[in-house]
């Protein structure tokens, strides 16, 4: 018992080691040589540490903006954090493996071939899905036993991985013109709604791909540049509303507050670059092992892949989507915050990827009008999805930025309310609080 307690206290509370152990397990199962396994383990541990540094820098630069927003809209002060992610890897770590393996078994033995896809959303999905389910099952449902949280979350994750690509499959087949690959991204509900809506109101004859964009717009395709520009503009706008003196006080700076806004935006973008660098380090080691599992358990199954894999089907549409989803979200943000309905912030990474994805579907089924509408639908669903998640989750939303601020449309308008309802049902059955 002393040994177990020592292990729990010193090893299993360390997120980096848990993630390293997942890589160790995956690489060992993939029969890699000792050198590769050791290197993989260390790169994951180091990658996770880099990721944590990025998270720390991200929150320290994001929270002044949140405080300025609160002040500008006379809302309660809110700060974002990564509570669950930083403290409960021993719960969500096992779900990363078990949820994916159960998904593969469901695909192998239950799902008919027509609907059979292996969910390979890019690796990031493994982490976000595991955190989302375990956090909500534990904190929203009130389930206290770790093993039960792991069990329930494994089942929920596996179902999500199985159902999502199947639901969007009729549209991805039409988009691609074949059935070689599925679509696995948390924007899929917005893409689905876009496809249905623009089929009625769009005009596929006028494609976004016929538009010639000025080269000056090219920077919009660079994620770091768009983050810096949008955040700087938002902070400057908030500074104008609350006044330069208050802005300087909140930012804790002696610089000119407008210059400080720009520098905070630059630092925020840098923090995200560090965060993604760390994430890339550990995902690059873990994901190949998971692909190896998929090849063995469901041989020949079609992969369902991440949103950038469809960008090639509408390169201009991508730009239409990034711009229209971001503008839409910012308009909703101002309305929602001003009316005191919620306190939302532009989630750049999500709008960048999801807005682009929706616009590619929009262009396919409704031309350039469809691409713009796709971005609008994405921005709208995400803005109101955040309001919904804040309402359902309260402090849980704020304390866990990965499933709050960083959530995508699918998380916000499907999983949050669905898991909330399931939690109510579970409570009736005597599970949880």
């Amino acid at each position: 018992m002393v040994v177990v307690n020592w292990l729990i206290k010193n090893i299993f509370t360390q997120s980096a080691i848990i993630m390293g152990l997942i890589a160790l397990l995956g690489l060992t199962a993939a029969k890699k040589d000792f050198n590769t396994i050791l290197q993989g383990f260390l790169k994951v541990v180091i990658g996770w540490a880099v990721y944590q540094i990025g998270i720390s820098a991200f929150t320290s630069n994001m929270n002044p903006l949140m405080n300025m927003m609160s002040k500008a809209f006379n809302a309660p002060s809110r700060e974002i954090g990564f509570y669950w992610e930083n403290n409960f890897a021993y719960i969500y770590g096992p779900v990363i493996i078990l949820g994916f393996l159960l998904h593969l078994l469901i695909e192998r033995f239950i799902v008919p071939e027509k609907w059979r896809y292996v969910f390979l959303g890019g690796g990031h999905f493994l982490l976000r899905e595991a955190i989302l389910t375990t956090c909500l099952v534990s904190m929203l449902w009130g389930v206290e036993q770790a093993w039960l949280v792991i069990l329930i979350s494994t089942i929920l994750s596996a179902i999500q991985f199985t159902v999502q690509p199947a639901v969007i499959s009729p549209f991805i087949r039409k988009l691609r013109g074949d059935d070689l690959m599925g679509f696995a991204h948390q924007s899929s509900i917005a893409c689905l709604v876009t496809s249905v809506v623009v089929s009625k109101v769009g005009n596929p004859e006028k494609s976004s791909e016929d538009v010639k964009f000025p080269k000056a717009f090219g920077f919009m395709r660079d994620f770091n540049c768009t983050t810096t520009v949008i955040m700087a503009l938002l902070m400057i706008a908030m500074t104008i509303i609350i006044g330069p003196a208050k802005s300087a006080e909140i930012q804790g700076t002696s610089l000119n507050p407008f210059i400080a806004c720009v520098m905070t935006a630059v630092n925020l973008s840098a923090a995200m670059a560090v965060l993604f660098y760390g994430m890339r380090m550990f995902i690059a080691e873990i994901l190949p092992a998971f692909v190896g599992f998929a090849d063995r358990i469901v041989p020949g199954a079609r992969p369902a892949m991440d949103v950038p894999t469809i960008f090639g089907f509408g390169q201009n549409a991508v730009l239409f989507g990034i711009v229209s989803s971001t503008i839409t979200h910012i308009i909703w943000m101002l309305i929602i915050n001003a009316l005191g309905i919620g306190l939302i912030m532009a989630p750049n990474a999500s709008l960048f990827m999801s807005g682009a994805g929706c616009a590619v579907f929009g262009n396919k089924f409704g031309g350039r009008r469809g691409a713009i509408i796709g971005g609008i639908i994405c921005g709208t669903m995400m803005a109101w999805g955040h309001v919904l998640a804040q309402y359902l989750g309260g402090d849980i939303y704020w304390a866990n930025a990965r499933i709050g601020y960083g959530a995508e449309a699918e998380d916000l308008v499907v999983l949050w309310p669905l898991y909330w309802l399931l939690g109510k049902l579970a409570n009736l059955l005597g599970l949880g609080a």
């Binding site: 390979l120 959303g121 890019g122 690796g123 990031h124 691609r176 074949d178 070689l180 690959m181 090219g218 395709r221 660079d222 994620f223 770091n224 540049c225 670059a273 993604f276 660098y277 994430m279 890339r280 995902i283 690059a284 994901l287 190949p288 692909v291 079609r302 992969p303 892949m305 991440d306 949103v307 950038p308 894999t309 960008f311 090639g312 390169q315 991508v318 990474a349 960048f352 990827m353």
Partner: protein
């Protein structure tokens, strides 16, 4: 027996970077896809997934091959002085990926038909 002969021009693993817009998703899937091709061809490779915004980030030395699944190939060519730069059009078509890589390797003379 392989249809191709790898000339091993650098006497070291081939340095490859795979890029995608944010650098945490498709670049890794692209890495997995192209790694299979290099393995089939008997080429030892060192593949680094990276972001289009910083394609040289985390790479040791100048890459020999730049591969992107995204749309910024021309812009990336200006940033990365790799002898081969190519775009993967569709990750769902491994045969096309293999053919595209072989075409480029033959083009620079690093690979020869047996």
């Amino acid at each position: 027996m392989s249809e191709y002969i790898w000339k091993d021009p650098f006497k070291r693993p081939l340095r490859v970077v795979t890029c995608c817009p944010v650098g945490i998703c498709t670049c890794i899937l692209t890495k997995i896809a192209v790694e299979k091709v290099f393995d089939q061809l008997g080429i030892t490779s060192e593949i680094t997934p990276t972001t289009e915004g910083n394609p040289m980030g985390g790479v040791n030395g100048t890459p020999d091959i730049l591969i992107t699944e995204g749309m910024q190939l021309e812009a990336l060519k200006e940033k990365v002085p790799a002898p081969i730069a190519l775009r993967i059009h569709d990750l769902g078509k491994p045969d096309e990926i293999k053919a595209e890589i072989i075409k480029h390797l033959l083009g620079v003379g690093w690979l020869e038909e047996a």
